[in-house]
C-alpha cells in the first residue's frame, strides 16, 4: 500500500484505496484491507464516478484532507463515504439528495462517520438549504437531471470559495437521449468555460457508459 499522487488516496496494484474513517465498518460491499494496523477501504471505480475519473487519469480533484465539500446527488453514500475518508476529521461533507428513500441510508452512514452532514433537499433550489451549510472548497455534483450544468453553476455561484474546485459528473442520457454524448459534453464544456477555468475532463467509458466528469476551478 503506497500513497498516490493525490493526498488521502492510496493505491496498491491497480486498485485505489482510502483510509477508513470508521474502522471495521463497510458502507457498501467494498473490500477492507489492513496494512500495518491501518485499515483501508477499496474504492471501486465501477461504482463511483470520481474513482472512475481518477482511474482514467484525472490529475487532481481538489478534495484533500481538511476540505469542506458540498456533495450534490449523494444517493446512499457510496462515493460520499470515500470523500468523507479523504477529508478526514478536520473536514466536513455536506451531502444532499432529493429522494427520501436514499437519504434514509445516507443518514446511517453519516451517523457512523461524524463528518457528513446529510440534507434532504433539491439541488436546483440552493436557497432552501443555504442556512444549513457554509461556503465550501469543493462542489461535487452527480445528479441525473436535465439541466445538470445549470444547477451546478447556480450552486457554485452561491457556495464555492474563490479559487475553489468544482467537479461535475454529466450523464449524457439524462440531458438528451437523442443527441450524441460527445456533442453534449462539448456543449457543457462551453457552458462551464464561461464561468470557470475548465482544468480537466474525462469521459468515463467503459466504467460508466455515456458519462463524463469535469474538473473546474473558480476564478
Amino acid at each position: 500500500m503506497k500513497a498516490s499522487k493525490l493526498q488521502g488516496v492510496y493505491e496498491e496494484g491497480r486498485s485505489l484505496y482510502t483510509q477508513n474513517l470508521a474502522p471495521g465498518i463497510r458502507v457498501y460491499d467494498e473490500a477492507l484491507v489492513t496494512v500495518k494496523g491501518i485499515e483501508y477501504r477499496e474504492w471501486n471505480p465501477t461504482k463511483s464516478k470520481l474513482a472512475a475519473a481518477l482511474v482514467k487519469g484525472m490529475p487532481q480533484m481538489g478534495i484533500k484532507p481538511g476540505s469542506i465539500v458540498l456533495y450534490l446527488g449523494a444517493s446512499t453514500g457510496t462515493t460520499v463515504s470515500h470523500v468523507s475518508d479523504i477529508v478526514g476529521k478536520e473536514g466536513i461533507v455536506f451531502a444532499l439528495d432529493f429522494a427520501p428513500r436514499v437519504v434514509r441510508d445516507l443518514v446511517f452512514v453519516a451517523e457512523q462517520r461524524g463528518n457528513i452532514a446529510p440534507i434532504l433537499g433539491d439541488a436546483a433550489q440552493p436557497k432552501t438549504y443555504a442556512h444549513r451549510i457554509c461556503a465550501v472548497d469543493v462542489v461535487y455534483q452527480d445528479v441525473a437531471q436535465k439541466d445538470q450544468a445549470g444547477i451546478f453553476i447556480k450552486n457554485c455561484r452561491e457556495f464555492l470559495m474563490p479559487g475553489g474546485f468544482g467537479l461535475l459528473a454529466i450523464k449524457a442520457r439524462s440531458v438528451d437521449i437523442a443527441k450524441k454524448p460527445k456533442q453534449i459534453f462539448r456543449e457543457v464544456r462551453d457552458q462551464l468555460a464561461k464561468e470557470f477555468t475548465v482544468v480537466d475532463y474525462r469521459e468515463l467509458d467503459p466504467l460508466e457508459k455515456d458519462h463524463c466528469l469535469f474538473l473546474c476551478k473558480n476564478r
Binding site: F94, N115, A117, I119, L120, C134, A135, M161, I177
Partner: protein, 299 residues
C-alpha cells in the same frame, strides 16, 4: 451596526465586518437594532460560517433535521405504491411455487390435479381435505390411480407447501382490497376512469401522486412504454409507441386495432385531468369524465 442570521446550528450575530460576535440559541433579543443581511452580505456570512468550531454542530443538527424531514416525507402514496408492487411480486411468486406444488402433488394424485383448473381452488382443497375424499369426488378408485403410494412424511411435506400457497392467496386478496381502498380514498376520480388496477400501476410507475400530477397527458399515455419510446427517439426507423400501461384498459382493448392509439390518447387526456382533480382535492366528477370519453367515440 450588527447583523442577525438564523442558521441550522442556531442564531448567529455578526458585526459590520462580518466576524462572528456570538453564536447560540435565542440570541437576537439580547442585541437591540439587529439588521437583516441583504443578498450580497450572504456571501460573506457563508464564508464566516466556515469555522472549524461549527463543524460538529453542522453535522449533529443536519442529521437531526434530516431525520425529521425523512420522517415527514412519508405520504399515503408510498403505501399505495408498495401494495401495488407487492401484488405484482406475489403474482409471480405464487405462480412459481404453485407450479412446483402441482408437479410434486401429481406424483401422489395426478388425476385430481388434472381435474381442477384453478390454482387457488386446488391449493384450498388439498390443504383441507383428505386425499381419499378427493379421489372419491372424481370417482377414481385408489387401485386404478396413477399416483404412487407415498409415505406420511412425504405427504406432510407436500401438504405443508399447499397450506403456504393457500396463505399466499389470502395475503394476495387482502393486499388487493387494501390497495383498492387506499386508492378509492385518495384518488377516487382516477380510479373511476382508469379502474383501480391501472390506477395503481400508474402511481407505481410515477413513484408518487405529485409526480404523476406534474406529467402532461402525453407522458401518461406512454408510461410503461419507455423502452419503445427511447428506441424511437434514437432511431427514427422504429415506430413510436401509442400506449404503455393504458393498453390494458378495457376502453383501449375494445377499440379496433387502427383506433387504439386514438383511444389511448383520449383516455390519457381524461386521466391526467382526473389525477389533477384528486391531487388538489377537487370535487368528484369521475363519472362525468368517463361518460364524456365514451360518448366521444360512440357517435
Amino acid at each position: 451596526m450588527k447583523y442577525q442570521y438564523s442558521s441550522i446550528i442556531g442564531d448567529v450575530v455578526f458585526d459590520n465586518q462580518f466576524h462572528v460576535v456570538e453564536q447560540g440559541h435565542n440570541l437576537f433579543k439580547k442585541y437591540p437594532n439587529l439588521q437583516e443581511p441583504d443578498e450580497h452580505h450572504k456571501v460573506k456570512i457563508q464564508m464566516a460560517m466556515r469555522d472549524k468550531k461549527f463543524f460538529a454542530a453542522f453535522v449533529k443538527d443536519n442529521i437531526a433535521q434530516t431525520k425529521q424531514d425523512v420522517k415527514r416525507s412519508v405520504i399515503p402514496d408510498n403505501h399505495i405504491v408498495h401494495a401495488v408492487n407487492l401484488l405484482e411480486e406475489l403474482d409471480t411468486l405464487i405462480n412459481t411455487i404453485v407450479k412446483r406444488l402441482r408437479e410434486w402433488y401429481e406424483l401422489w394424485n395426478p388425476e385430481f390435479s388434472k381435474s381442477i383448473q384453478s390454482h387457488e381452488k386446488f391449493c384450498e382443497l388439498i390443504a383441507i381435505k383428505k386425499n381419499e375424499d378427493l379421489l372419491k369426488e372424481i370417482n377414481i378408485d385408489r387401485k386404478h390411480s396413477m399416483g404412487a403410494e407415498i409415505s406420511p412424511k412425504d405427504q406432510d411435506a407436500i401438504l405443508q407447501l399447499a397450506r403456504r400457497c393457500r396463505d399466499l392467496y389470502t395475503l394476495r386478496s387482502s393486499t388487493q382490497s387494501y390497495a383498492e381502498s387506499l386508492l378509492q380514498e385518495n384518488y377516487p376520480n382516477l380510479c373511476t376512469v382508469a379502474g383501480s388496477a391501472i390506477a395503481g400501476k400508474l402511481l407505481g410507475h410515477a413513484g408518487t401522486g405529485r409526480r404523476l400530477v406534474m406529467m402532461p397527458a402525453s407522458t401518461i399515455q406512454l408510461l410503461g412504454a419507455e423502452k419503445a419510446l427511447f428506441r424511437h427517439m434514437r432511431n427514427k426507423r422504429s415506430p413510436p409507441p401509442k400506449y404503455g400501461l393504458l393498453f390494458q384498459h378495457p376502453f383501449v382493448q375494445s377499440a379496433r386495432k387502427s383506433e387504439q392509439g386514438k383511444h389511448a390518447r383520449a383516455l390519457a387526456d381524461k386521466l391526467s385531468m382526473a389525477v389533477k382533480i384528486d391531487y388538489f382535492k377537487g370535487v368528484y366528477c369521475g363519472d362525468r369524465l368517463k361518460k364524456e370519453l365514451e360518448e366521444k367515440f360512440n357517435k
